[in-house]
């Protein structure tokens, strides 16, 4: 067995050193009734080649978004990730290290987390960011719970432009941790007025930017309406590349930004692992969930980094912790920060411009398909179309033509038949003019 260095001779010698005749003696505390007396009904060990064959066979039965024209977004985005990113995150010193509990021998992880926190703060226009969360949806509900702690109020208003998975995760926690949700109806056009829903009981308003339907709205007025009533504005961002082209939530008055960072450095991976980003104002930092890295000096006076303000966390605070969260998404954060370092200011701005140009080009082309209309007016790299037929059937028919043509709104809102003809479409820098033309042609055929 290639992963197990002990030999039978070693094992016998070790048992002798321990002073027991067999392994069974080491398991003496297991009650007799609970001891498995037979091997489990599982196959025996296999070599690399056999395992690679088995999993490759499963992989071959999928249609990867990279193999065909693909225009899916709705919270997960395909971008080109530079080769250096994957090379660097596979360095064993990053891949096979643990949480930096011993800072003297974890400065690599700690320094990139410090840099990551700074990048996230800059990008979102906030003062501080943490060292990451599980994903955007969990970061979003953590933001809601933080707002509840800060305001000592119990109600959160959710925009109808919020991704339904984010909404559902918030609803689960609301029910079991005891806060109220005021959920606005799905808002494909960005016409909702959330300010009227804010009252003296409102802890926060959660709005997605760009919205799940793709539209972008100035949040300045909403932030002012929140602050006038003592509530916080939480801005969820599912496509972080957008912030290279549009105003930062912090500039518009956001109090907490909860974002999905997958779009930089991380692949689609069928939905995970992804990267929750979490940024806020400095004055709220003690109510922040998750790990934080801070700068200090060592005994020789050299700059160094440590995990800090840990008393917020479960391993010290136990039942009084700000969150039960323990793990972050370290390696995904590393991929994010490396990708963003490669892009730099100029590269990110240009990448965002390319995304926007691709989406505008595609939207205008698809809107010319007979019976199709563009629902979104202002958008970044994602928009909503109204089709003359149910979108789910159209997407299936497109898939048969080997085109992944977007996400039917009903996939995200199965309980909303009135959204049946809406299709969410994204375009990024990876989509070529040829792919876009093929999509338009196929859509015409399918709708004919």
């Amino acid at each position: 067995m290639r992963y197990l260095p002990l030999t039978e001779v070693d094992r016998r010698g070790m048992l002798a050193a321990i002073g027991v005749p067999s392994m069974d003696n080491l398991y003496q505390d297991v009650p007799e009734s609970a001891r498995l007396k037979r091997p489990l009904a599982l196959p025996d060990h296999q070599g690399e080649l056999a395992v690679e064959r088995a999993l490759s066979e499963l992989a071959a039965r999928n249609l990867p978004a990279s193999a065909v024209p693909s225009f899916l977004g709705a919270g997960a985005y395909r971008h080109h990730v530079p080769a250096a990113v994957d090379h660097l995150i596979q360095r064993g010193e990053f891949l096979t290290s643990y949480t930096p509990y011993q800072p003297e021998i974890s400065q690599g992880t700690l320094q990139y987390l410090f840099e990551f926190q700074t990048q996230v703060a800059l990008l979102t226009g906030m003062e501080v960011a943490n060292a990451s969360m599980y994903d955007g949806a969990t970061a979003c509900v953590e933001a809601v719970m933080m707002a509840i702690r800060l305001t000592k109020r119990k109600k959160a208003v959710l925009s109808g432009g919020l991704h339904p998975h984010y909404r559902d995760v918030a609803a689960t926690l609301a029910r079991y941790t005891g806060f109220e949700l005021d959920m606005a109806a799905p808002d494909p056009t960005g016409a909702e007025d959330l300010a009227t829903r804010i009252d003296g009981e409102t802890a926060c308003v959660v709005v997605q930017y760009p919205a799940v339907f793709g539209h972008i709205r100035d949040l300045t007025g909403l932030a002012q309406a929140c602050h006038a009533k003592g509530a916080l504005l939480i801005v969820a961002v599912t496509e972080i590349v957008s912030l290279g082209a549009i105003r930062a939530p912090g500039d518009m008055g956001a109090d907490i930004v909860a974002a999905e960072g997958q779009a930089l450095g991380n692949g689609l991976n069928f939905g995970g692992p992804y990267l929750g980003l979490f940024a806020t104002r400095e004055k709220f930092v003690r109510q922040m969930p998750g790990r934080l890295c801070g700068q200090t000096v060592d005994a020789e006076g050299r700059r160094g980094f440590v995990l800090t303000l840990s008393t917020r966390e479960q391993h010290i605070r136990r039942e009084k912790a700000t969150s039960n969260i323990c793990t972050n998404s370290g390696l995904c954060a590393l991929a994010f920060t490396i990708h963003l370092s490669l892009l730099g200011e100029a590269g990110l701005r240009q990448l965002a411009a390319l995304n926007h140009a691709a989406a505008v080009t595609l939207a205008e082309r698809l809107a010319r398909v007979p019976g199709v209309s563009l629902v979104s007016d202002q958008f970044f790299n994602e928009f909503t179309l109204r089709l003359p037929k149910p979108a789910a059937a159209v997407v299936d028919a497109l898939a048969e033509r080997r085109i992944l043509g977007g996400v039917p709104a009903r996939r995200l809102w199965p309980e909303r038949p009135e959204l049946g003809h809406l299709l969410l479409v994204a375009a990024t820098e990876v989509n070529t003019p040829t792919e876009m033309a093929a999509f338009a042609t196929a859509l015409e055929e399918v709708l004919r």
């Binding site: 003690r286 800090t308 840990s310 008393t311 010290i316 605070r317 009084k320």
Partner: protein, 125 residues
């Protein structure tokens, strides 16, 4: 012997008229290590003996501080917010946490004097 009285939870009280000045003991600050953060109660809040009213944190520990006596918080030591190290440097002097206007002076009788507290701490370690 000082005029301090102590709880079993390592808070101290110095009575000045009908006001109790409260803080944490030298033993407590030593156990905590470097204090990095103090969360104080709101002035004007009514507190009940043995309920949690403040928090003191070091890098690796967070402790709740209990009200040693019942009454109304009439002052808190704002210095600690900016300079939590004062708790380590002078725990029973400049490092006081809050002052409580006593509602039931008889509660003071339940506290230990310094000798009793010293004995109590010795038994702990």
């Amino acid at each position: 012997m000082s005029d301090l009285k102590f709880t079993e939870e390592h808070e101290w009280v110095r009575v000045e008229g009908d006001v109790a000045v409260c803080g944490i003991s030298d033993y407590a600050q030593d156990q905590l290590g470097d204090v990095v953060y103090v969360e104080l109660p709101a002035v004007g809040s009514k507190v009940v003996k043995l309920t949690e009213i403040a928090v003191v944190e070091s890098v690796k520990a967070a402790s709740d501080i209990y009200a040693p006596v019942s009454g109304e918080v009439i002052a808190v030591n704002e210095t600690l917010t900016e300079q939590p190290n004062v708790v380590n440097a002078d725990p029973t002097g400049e490092g006081w946490f809050f002052q409580i206007q006593l509602s039931d002076p008889a509660e003071l009788d339940d506290l230990m004097d310094e000798d009793a507290y010293r004995t109590y701490v010795e038994e702990l370690s």
